[in-house]
């Protein structure tokens, strides 16, 4: 802890300022998004000064209308449910798979091949899988939110298994051996020793998986069609029709959808940093 204090005391100010200046590349587009979300369609122009100016009134009307059009709470419910279940299952299943494969692939050909098999799945263009998946999920009776979760578990498996096995390379096997000596099984060792140590990676996997599922349109569109259920991105398609787009409502709606995932990211980010403290203690 003492070291930690000393580190915190010496702030690298030039770096801090540089990073804050760099933020402009994000803040500027974000500023445009926010002001457009507050404007009326009749305030939209093509000249720069007009577009960058503040809205005439800061009314929340667009947000209320966007929530009404997308049936916000209902769609949010589906999005949250699908995302949470996917993330939790991904952390449990993919970390286990990453552990089993990562710890064995140096020695065993079977695991090496399994690893390459799963990772190569990442490169299958979704377009080729789409129609067969639609048919398959319908035949299995899971052409609903549950089928979407199953698909996500498979789609994100390659990336997550890669991340977990990569992380495991830096975790010394000696940590596990100590547990074996105490008579623990591999299964117990995993949950007691390895799983907690990997928490920065769990947080990373959680963020990346959550983001992918939260923003995805295509999978729920084709798999859940006809169930009457909508996720948020699916409901947001309403703003874009063939011959017209209501950017003001759409941007308001995107901002609303952005908040939950940003909060989730910030929580996970804390986990990633906390993980270091734990790691440093060991």
């Amino acid at each position: 802890m003492k070291q930690k204090n000393r580190v915190a005391a010496t702030t690298n100010w030039p770096l801090t300022i540089l990073l804050i200046v760099g933020c402009l590349t994000v803040i500027f587009p974000l500023y445009m998004t926010i002001i457009i979300a507050f404007k009326k369609p009749s305030e939209m122009t093509n000249d720069i000064a007009g577009l960058l100016s503040l809205p005439k009134t800061w009314s929340l009307e667009n947000f209320a209308e966007a929530m009404r059009v997308t049936d916000f709470w209902h769609s949010l419910g589906y999005s949250v449910m699908i995302t949470i279940v996917t993330v939790v299952l991904a952390i449990l299943i993919h970390s286990l798979a990453g552990y089993a494969i990562g710890r064995s692939m140096a020695k065993s050909r079977f695991y090496k091949v399994s690893y390459l098999y799963i990772v190569s799945g990442m490169f299958v263009p979704f377009a080729i899988l789409m129609m067969p998946l639609v048919k398959q999920t319908a035949q299995m009776g899971v052409d609903n939110w549950f089928g979407v979760i199953l698909c996500y578990l498979v789609f994100y498996m390659p990336m997550n298994v890669m991340l977990y096995t990569g992380y495991l390379k830096n975790i010394p096997i000696a940590l596990e051996e100590a547990a074996f000596v105490d008579g623990a099984t591999t299964w117990q060792t995993y949950w007691k020793v390895i799983f907690p140590i990997m928490s920065p990676m769990h947080a990373t996997v959680a963020v990346l998986t959550a983001l992918g599922t939260w923003n995805d349109v295509m999978t729920p569109l084709v798999i859940m069609s006809g169930t009457g259920a909508n996720t948020l991105p699916l409901a947001q398609l309403t703003f874009q029709t063939q011959f017209g787009t209501n950017y003001n409502l759409a941007f308001a709606s995107y901002l609303l959808a952005l908040l939950p995932i940003l909060v989730f990211y910030l929580i996970c980010q804390k986990q990633i940093i906390n993980g270091v403290v734990n790691g440093a203690v060991k």
């Binding site: 580190v7 915190a8 702030t11 770096l15 801090t16 990073l19 760099g22 933020c23 994000v26 587009p29 974000l30 998004t33 000249d47 720069i48 577009l51 299943i93 798979a97 089993a100 494969i101 710890r103 695991y111 399994s114 390459l116 990772v119 190569s120 799945g121 990442m122 490169f123 299958v124 263009p125 377009a127 080729i128 899988l129 129609m131 067969p132 398959q136 698909c151 498979v154 890669m162 990569g166 992380y167 830096n170 099984t185 591999t186 299964w187 920065p200 983001l211 923003n215 947001q236 703003f239 759409a250 941007f251 995107y254 952005l258 995932i261 990211y265 990633i272 940093i273 790691g279 440093a280």
Partner: protein, 282 residues
Amino acid sequence: MKKLSRNQTFLLITIPVLALFFCFNTLPLIKGLMYSFTNFKGFGSYDWVGFRNYADLFSDARVGKSYLFTFKFAVVATILTNVIALLLALGLNGKIRAKSALRGVYFVPRILGGLVVGYIFGYIFTYILPAVTGGSSMLSNTKTAWFAIVIVAAWQSIAQTTLIYISGLQTVPEDVYEAGAIDGATGWKSFKNLTFPLIIPFFSINLVLSMKDFLMVFDQIMAMTKGGPAQSTESISYLIYNNGMGGGQFGFQSANAVIFFIVIVAISVFQLNFTGKKEEQL
């Protein structure tokens, strides 16, 4: 109950995972492979056409052009993204103030949806940049449009790449730096000799992940140029989606997807082997 051996535990984990993966990835892929030998439109009746789709593929100038564009785009974007993301990760991992807030801000681009990114950057390239530089829009010129997409795609994916680098940096124990500092290793030297070797697994993961994302670029193209101007920014995925799903070329584009899949797998196996050897050397 008999205690399971380490290998048995690993098998019990790996086999169901492989089964799930097979069911929702390989099985539909095989069906897609089948469609690549038909003139299937995506619905209704179809005929078998043998290898015609594959023969066409190799004589189709448009497909050839899309491969050239996609690879040029992916290589440049991968390099740009990884250089910036690595610098950003080092910065955000440094001794700075407002760390959480800064990390939060730099993550926002990844969350913004395609409609927002398309509109905002479309506006920046069409109106703001020409006004600042006095030139014409990058997006209306066949020589520069691809780079505009590189900028936007990199802007969005730097968030994810940085996150993975940051979690990688957490595995570098603090005492490595201290030991290094005693030896007088600072700045570039410390990075090259101490930090970088330890995060090589993450470097290779990021290379593969971002290369894959960029090779499959679709959203940014839909948002920015829809393949234009003059068909100069049609990526492979763009053709597969638009002509396969949207148009009536499902069979032909399935063949395209199969070939594309084989090409990327070959590249990534090469990439993984290459960085894998690097890891072993260190």
